[in-house]
């Protein structure tokens, strides 16, 4: 059983989250400000995830995250009504691993919690899977095994149609590179584009809905509006971060 610390000054929100997480089978610890959170983190060594509100009395979420990060590697998901890009960047730069804006969709929250727990508890699994063969393509926790035609995102298997699979494989193979609709068509169908209109765009949207937690804010399959699509090269990012 995993322990999750939920920190928010709004007791009702904490209670609601507790209900969702308990249903998912997590054990929930509760704190109503940064100081309490720090105290609980100090007392309990086996916390697997922290959900942290930003605007709190006594000690705000950013400072709390900073203090926790000093000696803990536990994943932190920021939970805030502040929805500006600037706020998200500040949160992620101050020790948060993910950022969810209020009001959130409970399903998304659970999906993100699951993802972070999986990542935290089963590190190194990518490397294991990569050794299976050459026909494995990946970016971050997105893994495509061309031998078995299996697609896995953050440890979860995804079911795709053949066309979707081909498009995703092509983009993952060439991760980090932006391809226009025309280019994707020509490469996947291997024939001249005759003005494929929006077929590719529709497929891409479907893929995104399947592999992303929040398709509107995709993590893997990014839309560069007016230019094309790409699979974000997350390994490159991690390397440079190290």
């Amino acid at each position: 059983m995993y322990n999750i610390l939920v920190v928010d000054d709004d007791k009702e929100i904490v209670n609601a989250i507790e209900i969702y997480l308990t249903k998912e089978g997590y054990n929930v610890l509760k704190a109503y400000n940064g100081m309490e959170a720090l105290k609980i983190v100090k007392e309990n060594d086996d916390i697997h995830l922290i959900l942290l509100d930003i605007m709190m009395p006594k000690l705000d979420g950013i400072s709390t995250a900073n203090l926790i990060r000093k000696d803990k590697k536990v994943p932190i998901i920021m939970l805030s009504a502040k929805s500006e890009d600037y706020d998200k960047i500040t949160g992620l730069n101050n020790g948060a691993d993910d950022y969810i804006t209020k009001p959130f969709n409970p399903l998304e929250l659970i999906a993100r919690v699951n993802s972070q727990i999986r990542r935290y508890t089963s590190l190194g699994s990518i490397a294991d899977k990569m050794e299976k063969g050459n026909n494995v393509y990946h970016s971050g926790d997105l893994i495509i095994n061309d031998n078995t035609k299996q697609v896995e995102v953050e440890g979860k298997e995804i079911k795709l149609t053949p066309t979707e699979y081909n498009i995703l494989k092509f983009l993952t193979k060439n991760k980090g590179i932006v391809y226009s609709i025309e280019q994707i068509y020509e490469n996947v169908w291997e024939e001249e584009s005759y003005g494929a209109e929006n077929i590719i765009a529709v497929h891409i949207r479907h893929i995104r809905e399947k592999i992303e937690i929040n398709p509107r804010e995709p993590k893997y399959l990014k839309v560069i509006w007016g230019v094309g699509y790409k699979i974000e090269n997350l390994d490159e990012k991690e390397k440079s971060a190290k």
Binding site: D10, E12, I13, A16, I17, I19, Y20, M55, A81, K82, S83, E84, T101, K102, P103, F104, N105, P106, S180, I181, G195, A196, E197, N198, I199, I200, A201, V202, H203, I204, R205, V223, I224, W225, G226, V227, G228, Y229
Partner: protein
């Protein structure tokens, strides 16, 4: 203490008014003496007037002038002797007194007494031949005989006698040696007069040429010796007095200010006229100079001098006071009239002024031209020609200056038009109406600048407020959404409860969307967004967005008809925000288009611009104007039953304009058409 000091200035000034004339007179006397000496008197070694050449010349002239009289009288006498008694009386009436039966040259003769003579020069001329003697002594008991007369004449120290062709004198320049060859002597010696006795009364009691001449001479001599000391002394004293007077003028009682009286406020010209009248009036007293009585002369001259001196002081004081208060020029009638005319002209409209100036120019030009042609002399023509050319040059200079100023103002207005409200005009460069105009423009610019700043500030504050409010709304909204969601998982007691819960769920989701859109709309309309402009391919963009909405269109059985040009179309925009614009338009179409209809999306490429056009048939009747539709919170359906915040079009419009595009909505019945216009990327050919 201070008070006494100030009144000291005033008192000392008044004392100076008394002292100044004394030194002034001394100075004038000294200077006059020097002038007389330089012009009238040859400098001689002697300090005695009677030894001077000028005196001797005068004396000789006096003798010569009087030698005629006996001759004339002798003839008269002859006539008188031969003619009637009445002639004798007539002679007396000419001013001569007669003593008859006088012993002259051993016979009886006549002595004529010239009575109207006030001269210091006394003479006796004897004509032996006709036995007539003439003298200017008074006819008294003591002057009955020749010898008595001689005796009186001989009483005076300065004398010149002529007897038997010999001269007996104590005037060195009139000795025989000195005057023998002069024409006067020849005249004297060749006349009938055989004996001449002359002398000058001691101390010159009569005011005649001799007295004046001696006075002038003595004065000059004294001036000559004293002048080197007196003139500088007087000038220095007068300067000092003048300074004290100038300092003292206008001071009165307490305070350092200048006190003006009524006289100082009347126009300067009138003040001068009054002053002149006073001085002119004083001149009347100088008529006394003609009087015989010294007392009359003295008092007349004194009164006259004092009055004119007071008049002069009055004028000096008022002029100095006006200068001290810098009102000398302003209190002149000339200034007042000029100022009045200027005000009169200034208050006219510029058109009137221009007309006046034009007619003035024409009139002067016409007169000058007429002058050139009509002048009788070449000089006159030249004068008028020069005048005409000067007029032309002056007008050109004036216009040039005005045009320069006009340009300054024009540039300022242009700057304001271009949005630079922070302008500063050099008001000293501008004159007249243009100066006023410049000041107005500066004020307008300042006002605009303030208004712009205020409006920016208020927009920013509004955005901040909306952002903050939305944060505060989001927190309770989170609880609502979560508990509604939790409730959905619970078992509901009946159908109605489930229905109500669905409504709660629906509305809480809409509230969420509304808060998000509200922040975005406020940011977009206030321009509070950082744009990252990139090269965007329009066809790709439209296809991408179309792909995103494929499902939603299908759900309502809407068919999308896309018309795209062959060649790629590049524009400059921020990909995320241009997507937001198209997303809003597609979202609108998916929500408000009539089911089972077609939605037309056209990309029309022009020479240097591109238009993205979207047309659909509205589900609801569009009974509002396009402008209204773009306003915030206005939606096509007045009932507001459908989802959406009513901010979509407003956000789309704001974002389009932020990215340099044009956003238009056209309504034609139920046809809803929206166009986005963007300029093509200029370096398109290079990029390809």
């Amino acid at each position: 203490m201070k008070e006494s000091k100030i009144s000291l200035a005033r008192v000392s000034k008044n004392i100076c008014y008394f002292i100044a004339p004394i030194f002034g007179l001394i100075l004038i006397a000294c200077i006059a003496g020097l002038i007389i000496m330089d012009t009238e008197i040859e400098l001689e070694n002697t300090s005695n007037y009677y030894d001077t050449k000028i005196f001797s010349n005068n004396y000789l002239s006096s003798i010569y002038a009087n030698t005629y009289i006996p001759t004339f009288l002798k003839e008269e006498g002859n006539e008188e002797q031969n003619n009637s008694q009445s002639d004798m009386i007539d002679m007396r009436s000419y001013g001569y007194d007669i003593q008859e039966n006088v012993q002259i040259n051993g016979g009886t003769g006549i002595i004529w007494y010239k009575t109207d003579n006030n001269s210091n020069f006394k003479y006796l001329m004897i004509d032996y031949e006709n036995r007539i003697a003439v003298t200017n002594l008074e006819h008294t008991m003591r002057t009955d005989t020749i010898d008595e007369i001689k005796g009186i004449i001989a009483e005076n120290p300065t004398y010149w006698n002529f007897k038997n062709g010999n001269i007996d004198t104590n005037i060195s320049y009139l000795s025989m040696e000195e005057i023998r060859y002069t024409s006067q002597y020849e005249e004297i010696s060749s006349s009938n007069i055989k004996e001449i006795y002359t002398s000058l009364v001691e101390d010159l009691p009569y005011r005649d040429d001799y007295a004046m001449s001696k006075f002038a001479y003595d004065l000059s001599m004294r001036a000559n010796t004293l002048a080197p000391i007196l003139i500088p002394l007087c000038i220095a004293t007068l300067l000092a007095l003048g300074l004290i007077i100038l300092n003292g003028i206008g001071k009165k009682g307490k305070g350092p200010g200048i006190h003006l009286n009524g006289f100082d406020k009347i126009p300067l010209e009138i003040a001068f006229f009054i002053g002149s009248c006073i001085i002119g009036f004083s001149m009347i007293f100088f008529v006394a100079l003609k009087s015989e009585l010294r007392a009359v002369i003295f008092s007349g001259v004194t009164i006259g001098t004092i009055i004119s001196y007071l008049g002069a002081i009055l004028l000096l004081e008022t002029v100095v006071k006006r200068m001290k208060t810098h009102t000398l020029w302003k209190t002149t009638l000339l200034y007042m009239i000029g100022h009045g005319i200027k005000t009169l002209i200034d208050n006219r409209k510029i058109a009137t002024k221009l007309t006046l100036a034009y007619w003035g120019f024409c009139a002067v030009g016409f007169i000058a031209t007429f002058g050139i042609v009509g002048s009788y002399s070449a000089g006159g023509s030249l004068f008028w020609f020069v005048a005409l050319v000067s007029l032309g040059i002056a007008t050109f200079c004036f216009l040039f200056r005005k045009i320069k100023q006009f340009n300054t103002i024009q540039n300022a207005i242009k700057a304001i038009y271009e949005g630079n409200t922070n302008i500063k005009l050099n008001e000293n460069e501008l004159t007249g109406v243009l100066k006023q105009l410049g000041i107005y423009i500066e004020d307008i610019a300042g006002g605009l600048s303030n208004a712009v700043n205020e409006s920016l500030k208020s927009e920013r504050l509004k955005t901040e407020l909306i952002t903050n409010v939305s944060h505060d709304i989001k927190t309770p909204l989170t609880s609502i959404i979560n508990y509604v969601d939790l409730l959905k998982k619970e078992k509901m007691p009946n159908e109605k409860a489930t229905e109500y819960l669905m409504i709660l769920d629906n509305k809480s989701q809409r509230l969420k969307k509304l808060t998000e859109d509200l922040v975005e709309a406020s940011k977009a309309s206030s321009g509070n967004i950082k744009l990252k402009m990139e090269k965007i391919e329009v066809k790709e963009l439209v296809k991408q967005v179309s792909g995103e909405f494929e499902d939603k269109f299908k759900a309502r059985n809407l068919e999308e008809v896309m018309t795209l040009p062959e060649e790629p179309i590049y524009i400059k925009a921020d990909g995320r925000y241009i997507y937001r614009v198209l997303e809003n338009l597609y979202s609108n179409a998916s929500k408000y288009a009539l089911e089972n209809t077609r939605v037309y999306v056209d990309v029309i490429s022009n020479k240097n611009s591109v238009v993205i056009q979207m047309k659909n048939i509205s589900k609801e009747e569009l009974n509002i104007s396009a402008d209204e539709l773009m306003q915030r919170f206005v939606r096509g359906d007045s009932a507001r039953n459908t989802e959406g915040s009513g901010l979509g079009l407003s956000i789309a419009s704001s974002l389009t304009e932020l990215q340099g595009g044009k956003f238009h909505i056209y309504l034609d019945g139920d046809l809803f058409k929206v166009t986005l216009g963007f300029y093509l990327l200029e370096d398109r050919s290079v990029e390809n």
